[in-house]
């Protein structure tokens, strides 16, 4: 099954996934703002490039600015049998459609006793790092992971972006698919294989400390691992890739080996998804932990605009190094 991998940016990988899935399944549609008329005709970050040319304006629709209805109509279209992708320009705006997502789509299968599938994907981007400030930079994935009936996907590499987007579209369940706005131009090999939702990826193997991280934080954790390696701490990095379904088993078996856990996310630390991973691990691996698991996340603050401030509120590679050392009980370098 190993196809030769192409080097693609994340936005290209997403674009390819859409093209491939739309080619394979004619019951797919996509709608959103500025999908076909912005830039070179591919939406704000290019992800829908050439979709309208290939699949037509019936299946690829530019919409008015009406997020509430885009999401609830997306749910209705999905319930009526059309695999529907809704692009929301920034995930902060998804809050305008929270009713459609949380009260309708997420509950449609259960409330009606299993009759309906709701193959809806709401695609958007989260994350900070490019100066978009408080209302265009949030990492709100935890909100959706808390809602029964929703799947939450947070791809961090081009390969994951491709394979998970195709799986999300094929899924019979409503899925929140959150890209990271600062990673669209990151390049990586793409095998064009489907990746099932609910399987974590081991981004780095190591034996002293398990770091669970997604997207930008995985990148920073990898940087931190270099530094830590030089200091004699061998880090294993696990990217869950989907927050729900979640793959705790991969985390547990890693922790059983490393006996230490640090969860790092860009979402605000307080009440963020790190708590779920820490709590589950503590309960499952109690006797196998050598130290208290720790969590890192954004400060309890909105994302500020000015560059240094923006950098300050989310974990840096150096912060991760420090916290990793603290987790394994090497407090000397701890500066935060």
């Amino acid at each position: 099954m190993n196809k030769p991998a192409q080097q693609l940016t994340i936005w290209r990988a997403l674009n390819a996934a859409l093209h491939d899935e739309f080619t394979e399944d004619p019951s797919t549609i996509i709608m959103g703002e500025d999908l076909t008329t912005w830039g070179t005709g591919g939406g704000i970050y290019g992800v829908t490039r050439k979709m309208a040319d290939v699949f037509g304006k019936e299946r690829v629709r530019d919409t008015p600015i009406s997020e509430e209805t885009l999401i609830s109509a997306g749910a209705g279209a999905a319930m009526a049998g059309t695999r529907t992708v809704v692009e929301i320009m920034y995930s902060d705006f998804m809050l305008l459609g929270a009713d459609g997502l949380i009260n309708q789509a997420a509950k449609s299968r259960y409330m009606f006793g299993g009759q309906f599938s709701t193959p809806l994907v709401v695609r958007s981007n989260g994350g900070s790092g490019i100066g978009k400030a408080a209302q265009h930079s949030q990492s709100l994935e935890t909100l959706y992971a808390h809602i029964p009936g929703l799947e939450v996907v947070v791809p961090g590499t081009a390969n994951d972006a491709y394979g998970l987007l195709r799986s999300a579209i094929k899924s019979e369940n409503p899925t929140v698919f959150l890209e990271h706005k600062a990673l669209y131009y990151d390049k990586g090999p793409v095998t064009k294989e489907l990746i099932p939702l609910g399987q974590a990826r081991v981004a780095r193997e190591g034996k002293d400390l398990t770091i669970v991280a997604t997207q930008l934080m995985t990148k920073r954790a990898l940087e931190a691992a270099q530094v830590l390696s030089a200091q004699g701490v061998d880090v294993e990095i696990i990217d869950p890739r989907t927050l729900y379904p979640f793959d705790m088993e991969t985390v547990f078996s890693s922790v059983r080996k490393t006996r230490h856990l640090l969860v790092v996310h860009e979402a605000v630390r307080d009440f963020g998804w790190g708590g779920e991973f820490v709590s589950n691990t503590v309960q499952e691996c109690w006797g196998e932990l050598d130290a208290a698991p720790r969590r890192m996340g954004a400060a309890r603050a909105p994302i500020p605009y000015s560059e240094e401030l923006e950098e300050a509120v989310i974990p840096s590679a150096q912060n991760i190094v420090d916290e990793a050392l603290a987790t394994v009980g090497r407090h000397t370098k701890l500066t935060v």
Binding site: S27, I29, E58, R59, R61, T63, P64, S66, E68, T69, I71, S72, A73, G74, A75, G76, A77, A78, M79, A80, G81, T82, T84, D99, G100, N103, Q104, K107, S108, R109, Y110, M111, F112, G113, G114, Q115, F116, S117, P148, G149, E151, K170, S171, E172, N173, P196, L197, G198, P245
Partner: protein, 331 residues
């Protein structure tokens, strides 16, 4: 003269024949019993009867077929029954029983029936509007000539989603019919206090949706308006907004003190009763005689009796079902 409210038979029946009357009578009987069930503790939570408003659901549904979609609201049993839902299974759902359409998980505010295109009654005022718009989008994108109906109240017209959906449906010429059951109250709020421009049609028109007023106490008028709207939608000409003037005879839900209206007002509206009106029309035009009318009334009663029996004797769902059907586990 026995008419089962099933999808199969209903659509063959002519509006001028007895069946519209029978269906309305059945809905009337069905809905009238709800307060008693609530008092008896058979219904938990909230149930919203639509006694008085039967002509809207029946008139609209006359123009629909099984493959068309309907998104309903909290006051939605009539929408279900008129679309062909079985009274017994509907009531079983309202009573939280295993044989309910949703296995007792939904209840009155969440009755969906996939094979009838029923996207559910809904607990969120206005939410069905987006769902129906989406179903219409699906129909259009898949190239079928199905249509979708959203039923909602006057109160729901103040939800922003309606404006958004009007606009979206208008620019894309979506096959959706927006049906406002204007019964002049939103829970205890009067329409007069809650809108400054009481001509609700103008809301549709402002977004380019052809909009009509209709006497919601006259099933024939409703059915004509709906037929026109459905015809427009099926032929690719886009949405219609129908504002049906109607009234609910009972309280908003069980326990309503009704301090926001007078008993006289209720009585006045009863003078326009849609069932009595159709009965009189059929009698006057000699389509039916008194005996037949009586038989219809009896048959409605019988049908609801047996629905009640069916629902009450249905067991409560197995507790284990509480944990299933959250997501499809296709992996």
């Amino acid at each position: 003269m026995t008419v089962e409210i099933t999808e199969a038979t209903r659509f063959d029946l002519d509006i001028d024949g007895p069946s519209a009357l029978e269906l309305m009578s059945t809905i009337r009987e069905f809905e009238s019993r709800l307060p008693t069930y609530s008092e008896e503790g058979l219904i938990r939570g909230s149930t919203h009867p639509s006694v008085g408003m039967e002509a809207v659901a029946v008139g609209v549904s006359w123009a629909l077929r099984a493959s068309d979609s309907v998104a309903s609201n909290h006051r939605g049993h009539a929408h279900c029954l008129a679309k062909g839902a079985d009274a017994g299974r509907t009531l079983a759902e309202i009573l939280g029983r295993r044989d309910g359409y949703c296995g007792g998980k939904g209840g009155s505010m969440h009755i969906g029936v996939k094979e009838l295109g029923l996207l559910g009654t809904n607990g969120i005022v206005g939410a069905g509007i987006g769902l129906a718009t989406g179903a219409a989008l699906a129909a259009q994108a898949q190239g079928t000539d199905n249509v979708a109906v959203a039923y909602f109240g006057d109160g729901a017209t103040n939800q922003g989603v309606l404006a958004e959906a009007f606009n979206l449906a208008a620019i894309w010429k979506l096959p959706v019919i927006f049906v406002c059951e204007n019964n002049h109250f939103a829970q205890s709020a009067t329409l007069e206090e809650m809108v400054a421009q009481p001509d609700l049609r103008r809301r549709g028109e402002a977004y380019g949706v052809p909009s009509v007023d209709v006497d919601g106490m006259d099933v024939e008028a409703v059915s004509n308006a709906a037929a026109e709207a459905v015809q427009r939608a099926r032929s690719g000409q886009g949405p219609t907004f129908i504002v049906a003037d109607t009234y609910r005879y009972l309280g908003h839900m069980a326990g309503d003190t009704e301090i926001y209206r007078t008993a006289e007002q209720v009585e006045q509206w009863k003078g326009r009763d849609p069932i009595a009106r159709l009965a009189k029309r059929l009698l006057d035009s000699t389509v039916l005689d008194e005996a037949q009318l009586k038989a219809i009334a009896t048959s409605a009663l019988t049908l609801v009796d047996s629905a009640e029996e069916f629902a009450k004797s249905s067991p409560f769902p197995d507790v284990s079902s509480a944990f299933t059907q959250v997501s499809e586990d296709y992996r």
